[in-house]
């Protein structure tokens, strides 16, 4: 099963403050362990929301664009991992060990990624084949 682990933002991450050398080192070690265990598929940090934008859809009008920063700090995403594990419980055990050297993270959310089986009959054989072709093409962009 694949899970997306979402690190929520904090005042520190939103301020654009760079993490301490110690935390960068600890995080590097933790990620290495994830890689060695064959668990880590991806992991990245996001720049503060001041560098981002939102596209809002509604009704028939053209979508509107709103530039960051966005106010609701605790709901924003600051970074993520994609993990391959056997269960939610296993993901929880890994996430409990995310280094928190700076005492800056407050909340991490774990969400299962939908796989082909989750789409049931709506994913027709043709669409499934298209999906597999897409995967192959995306692997080239990695």
């Amino acid at each position: 099963m694949r899970f997306m682990v979402i690190m929520k933002a904090s005042e520190e991450s939103e301020s654009g403050q760079v993490p301490s050398t110690e935390l960068i080192a600890e995080m590097g070690k933790f990620n290495e362990e994830l890689v060695r265990a064959g668990v880590m598929l991806a992991g990245e940090g996001l720049a503060s929301s001041a560098e981002g934008a939102r596209v809002r859809f509604g009704g028939t009008a053209e979508p509107s664009v709103i530039d960051g920063p966005f106010a609701e700090t605790k709901e924003l995403v600051a970074g993520f991992w994609i993990l391959q594990v056997r269960s939610l419980a296993e993901a929880v055990e890994w996430v409990k060990r995310v280094p928190n050297t700076d005492g800056a993270h407050h909340e991490i959310e774990i969400r299962r990624i939908a796989e082909a089986e989750d789409f049931g009959d709506n994913l027709t054989p043709e669409l499934k084949e298209a999906e597999e072709k897409l995967r192959e093409e995306v692997a080239k962009n990695g």
């Binding site: 939102r54 809002r56 979508p63 939610l88 969400r111 962009n141």
Partner: protein, 118 residues
């Protein structure tokens, strides 16, 4: 540069309903275009928050607290992501304005540049 594009949840996505074939098909075509143009790195749809969990850290506590989903604030939840390669936020905004929305549902997509470390 790489960007994370976050699709916010809706009542429908949180209900766990499988997307309509029409949307799946249009999304597939959209993703194919993003792949062909070299933008698409990864795309993932998340299952509803009822299948998820949160860990919360509190000052003075060694162990985080674990809370099982579902989570109430639907509009703040993430329903899916794209990871895209591009030159600027404006370029990604332009691409995302064309994201399929066959039922013309109200919703928000957030675009965030990733921190480059290498």
């Amino acid at each position: 540069m790489k960007f994370m594009v976050l699709v916010k949840a809706s009542v429908e996505s949180e209900a766990g309903a499988a997307p309509k074939p029409e949307l799946v098909e249009q999304m597939d075509r959209f993703n194919e275009q993003l792949a062909a143009s070299g933008h698409l790195v990864e795309t993932a749809g998340l299952t509803r928050s009822a299948e998820g969990a949160r860990l919360r850290w509190f000052d003075g506590l060694a162990e985080p607290e674990v809370v099982d989903g579902p989570f109430a604030e639907t509009k703040e939840l993430v329903a899916g992501v794209w990871i895209l390669r591009g030159e600027s936020v404006a370029e990604i905004v332009g691409l995302m304005k064309q994201a399929p929305n066959p039922d013309r549902q109200a919703g928000t997509i957030e675009i965030r540049p990733m921190v480059e470390s290498r």
